[in-house]
């Protein structure tokens, strides 16, 4: 494949820590190949900043293959940038044109406080899982895996919901900073499987309560979460969550 090189400007949110105010700073980045990944472009910027004695831009990233959910940039007004069903680490510079200015911000939500620059604290998601996002089965209690046949459609739907990578793009995309897509993916994953049945009611009630406690906003069915989700988690899961919640609320003792 032939490579094209580009010269770009990046307008990046810089913020020393949670207690200081932040601001945009614009940098020139030259000689960027269209075969590079977006984060490799950021690597080049950081390498230059370090060499010049400056402070590199802090951003979360780890697997760089779209599965760990650690990367979290808001690029040109969209979580994870312009490509559909994609994470920032899988975004490639082919998506941009020579001379373009790229605006890069952190996830913005009160429940995701900024750590530094583009890095945010998403521990609220872990606490939502702690509230009930599991099946209570101690190690060694399991029966044979094939003793419990599961209808293929249910297994496939559970898997589609379980694909959530917990990146938080749904929250960042939502005008209300709602975590309903994240939460509904986990509730659906476990509610669709017979193993999840015994704790079905308490799970949904406790997880929703924790979500509210963390300060995430309400869902107003705008669908921005689904449109931005790198794993294409469907908002049908939110409908299922509402059904589960209503059912559990009406029948809870």
């Amino acid at each position: 494949m032939s490579q094209n090189t580009m010269n770009l400007k990046v307008k990046v949110w810089r913020q020393k820590n949670a207690n200081t105010a932040g601001a945009f700073v614009t940098y020139d980045v030259a000689g960027i190949s269209d075969e590079m990944s977006f984060l490799e472009m950021m690597d080049i910027l950081n390498e230059r900043l370090i060499t010049e004695g400056g402070d590199p831009v802090a951003f979360d990233h780890d697997c760089r293959e779209g599965i760990c959910g650690m990367c979290s940039m808001y690029i040109n007004g969209k979580p994870h940038g312009p490509w559909q069903a994609n994470t920032t680490c899988q975004l490639h510079m082919r998506a941009f044109k020579d001379g373009e200015t790229i605006v890069i911000e952190p996830w913005r939500a009160n429940s995701f406080p900024i750590v530094k620059d583009l890095t945010v604290d998403r521990s609220a998601f872990d606490r939502i899982i702690q509230a009930g996002g599991y099946i209570s089965v101690n190690t060694g209690n399991a029966v044979d895996g094939n003793s419990l046949p599961i209808e293929k459609q249910n297994a496939d739907d559970a898997f589609a919901a379980a694909m959530c990578i917990g990146c938080g793009a749904c929250v960042a995309a939502c005008k209300n900073s709602s975590a309903m897509l994240f939460l509904s993916a986990k509730v659906s994953h476990l509610a669709l499987l017979p193993q999840g049945a015994p704790e079905r009611k308490s799970r949904v009630l406790n997880m929703v309560a924790q979500m509210d406690k963390e300060g995430f906003g309400s869902c107003t069915n705008t669908g921005a979460c689904e449109a931005t989700c790198p794993k294409e988690i469907s908002i049908a899961n939110i409908a299922r969550l509402n059904k589960e919640y209503l059912g559990a609320s009406l029948s809870a003792e």
């Binding site: 494949m1 590079m36 490799e40 390498e47 780890d62 490639h92 190690t139 895996g145």
Partner: protein, 657 residues
């Protein structure tokens, strides 16, 4: 002498007997015992969950922002288990045998047999947790085949098996957090082991947000920090994957075993330029249906689809007709390298071979036609049906390939090349997974024990979860039974103070170098040296040169490193510098180990030792041992040998023809 503490008795009975006789800790005492777990991938998260369920007080640490991010999550293909659901002749013995043979007879029989024994329990446990494995229409679990085996024993969840298993273990871990049995310390990095009276009694960890050094006591410390593949800079590991926890353990007296046994995975997306920061794996499961080939003619200029069958060389099928495209990873990687070195490579770099799905798409399309009872179907329609099937099986992998390369793998063959993927070497452990430091354990990829010189596909997930869910809870308990008389030691103890000071001094000296070059730039140079001289093939002259180069690089690192920012704040560059410093030292040990091992086996291919056909030439007479290295100071290691005894399997030359 190294005592691997393998129980006596028949191979089949060892683990059963061990469990029947090991010491137990009663529930009241478990509550008083503190266990530190470093790393929350499959091994760490499963160990933390299982130990928490038992009632131990567990403290778990990970450097990521959440335990759910550990790199086990990126494993694609699957997890092996000797369930024999397919009725195709699988058994515990066969899984054991395949793993020993795949490891080129450099793994320990007793450990591998135990792994095969518990493999079934892992599947059951994961299903019970709600891991959504792939299923057949009848609702039962689906299997596929993987390299180095002739049965279908691999369980999977599309191309995201690692993700689903890790989320399962993560949820079990978070449940224990909610119950108060596990305290989770995310964004923390272990920077030293604290030893008291020769035993591991805690760790020093850096809070990566504040930069503060924390002291944590534990009656036992479990290192579950994964492998060291990132020593090559370019690998399929996550950017943060590192050897630091294992290396600190090594510096504190834990022997490091077989560091030169590294796995180069045959099917990765090729390097596209100097900017490259990491490599991406295309699951081995793709070799089930894809065919690997290069043009028959050097200097072929036609596009892949324009090259007729007669001008293609399906070199794996040609060289290894019995296993074909499903030969083990080391064999497939070397065969691809051989073709590229001989000038048959494809793509702009000529460092790639084709992985072609055209035949599979057609085959699946025809099956669909007969399944659906269609008639008068054009070839295009058959291909369209076939693409649907392939999409269901491998869709996420194909999408990933398209995003990275900008090419559509449904239309043109993928280009692939081998890349560093896994490290079989690691901390030496005995049968109980205990290192040579009492109270210090290593689980999962961080230890060396089960994969010999080459790991078979879908076995890493199996080992991580076996160690964490089913082995460590027994073996660590057996030793903790002797610790019940020892109360927790306050971290004001001088040993903790000294260790914390040592860590603080090292961080200060790194920061005070105030040189010109970034940690990243040193890491890239380290990677080039190791890849060139201690990668897919090695020779004595190259290894000696690499050792000299690495010693020079270490000097330069410690005199010209620049770390921006401050120590007592969130500073990813400081974290990276700490890790690169350890990688440089490890790189030297890898070369020392590779130089000492004058044979070819598994992933370790010494050019001097090969058969006339270019296959690896093992030397069982002189090298049937585990190399366990003891750190003796700067650039100095002493070799200890653990003889490998094969009571059940008779080692032979691996033959996949």
């Amino acid at each position: 002498m190294l005592d691997s503490k393998i129980p006596s008795g028949k191979l089949d009975d060892k683990w059963v007997d061990y469990k029947g006789h090991c010491k137990l800790v009663n529930p009241a005492n478990k509550r008083k015992m503190e266990v530190i777990i470093v790393g929350t991938g499959l091994a760490g998260a499963s160990a933390a969950a299982a130990m928490g369920e038992l009632g131990y007080k567990v403290k778990a640490f990970c450097f990521q922002d959440s335990p759910r991010r550990a790199h086990s999550i990126a494993a694609q293909g699957g997890i092996n288990a000797a369930k024999n659901y397919q009725n195709d002749g699988d058994s515990v013995f066969r899984l054991f045998y395949d793993t020993i043979k795949g490891g080129d007879y450099r793994a320990r029989e007793a450990n591998v047999h135990r792994l095969a024994e518990v493999s079934s329990n892992i599947i059951d446990q994961c299903v019970a947790q709600g891991v959504p494995f792939a299923r057949e229409y009848g609702g039962l679990l689906s299997n596929r085949s993987f390299g180095g085996t002739q049965v279908q024993r691999t369980f999977y969840a599309a191309g995201q098996t690692g993700q689903q298993l890790l989320i399962g273990a993560y949820q079990a871990l978070e449940r224990q957090v909610a119950l108060g049995n596990v305290t989770m310390h995310a964004r923390h990095e272990m920077l030293d082991i604290v030893k008291i009276d020769g035993k591991a009694k805690g760790i020093i960890a850096r809070n990566l947000i504040t930069g503060e050094l924390e002291k944590h006591f534990g009656h036992a410390v479990l290192i579950c920090s994964g492998g060291y593949g990132n020593v090559y800079y370019l690998s399929t590991n996550a950017m943060g994957s590192n050897v630091t926890a294992a290396w600190k353990a090594h510096k504190q007296g834990a022997y490091f075993a077989n560091p030169c046994f590294t796995q180069i995975h045959p099917t990765c997306i090729p390097v596209s330029g100097d900017h490259q920061s990491k490599l991406t794996l295309m699951s081995e499961s793709l070799r089930n249906d894809g065919r690997i080939w290069v043009p028959k003619n050097v200097g072929e200029t036609r596009k892949a689809n324009d090259i007729p069958e007669a001008d293609r060389d399906y070199f794996l099928e040609r060289r290894y007709p019995a296993f074909g495209n499903l030969v083990p990873r080391d064999v497939a990687s070397r065969a691809a390298k051989e073709r590229c070195d001989a000038g048959f490579g494809v793509g702009t770099s000529k460092q790639a071979v084709y992985l072609d799905y055209a035949a599979a798409i057609l085959r699946y399309g025809k099956i669909e036609v007969s399944k659906q009872g269609l008639s008068n179907i054009s070839e295009d329609q058959i291909i369209a049906l076939g693409k649907e099937v392939v999409k269901e099986k491998y869709g996420n992998l194909f999408e990933m390939y398209a995003k990275i390369t900008g090419e559509n793998p449904y239309e043109v063959p993928m280009r692939i090349y081998p890349a560093v993927h896994y490290t079989m070497g690691g901390l030496w452990v005995d049968y109980e997974l205990q290192t040579t430091v009492p109270g210090l354990y290593a689980l999962g990829e961080a230890n060396f024990s089960d994969h010999g010189a080459n790991r078979l596909g879908a076995s890493a997930l199996m080992q991580g979860l076996a160690d964490g869910y089913f082995v460590a809870p027994y073996t660590v308990g057996n030793n903790l039974a002797d610790e019940i008389y020892n109360a927790a030691i306050p971290t004001t103890h001088p040993a903790f103070e000294e260790a914390a000071k040592k860590v603080a001094d090292r961080i200060a000296s790194l920061k005070n170098i105030n040189g010109k070059q970034s940690a990243e730039s040193f890491h890239k140079r380290l990677g080039k040296i190791i890849w060139n001289e201690c990668g897919m093939s090695r020779n004595a002259a190259g290894l000696k040169q690499a050792i000299a180069d690495l010693q020079a690089l270490k000097k330069e690192f410690w005199s010209d490193l620049r770390i921006p920012g401050e120590i007592n704040e969130y500073n990813p560059e400081l974290d990276k510098a700490n890790r690169v410093a350890d990688f440089i030292e490890l790189g030297e040990l890898m070369c020392v180990d590779a130089l000492t091992r004058e044979e070819s086996c598994g992933g370790h291919f010494r050019e001097e030792y090969q058969t006339p056909e270019g296959e690896a030439l093992r030397d069982d007479e002189n090298f049937m041992f585990v190399s366990a290295w003891e750190n003796k100071g700067e650039h100095e290691w002493q070799l200890h040998k653990e003889e490998l005894k094969y009571d059940v399997i008779k080692p032979s030359q691996r033959n996949y023809k």
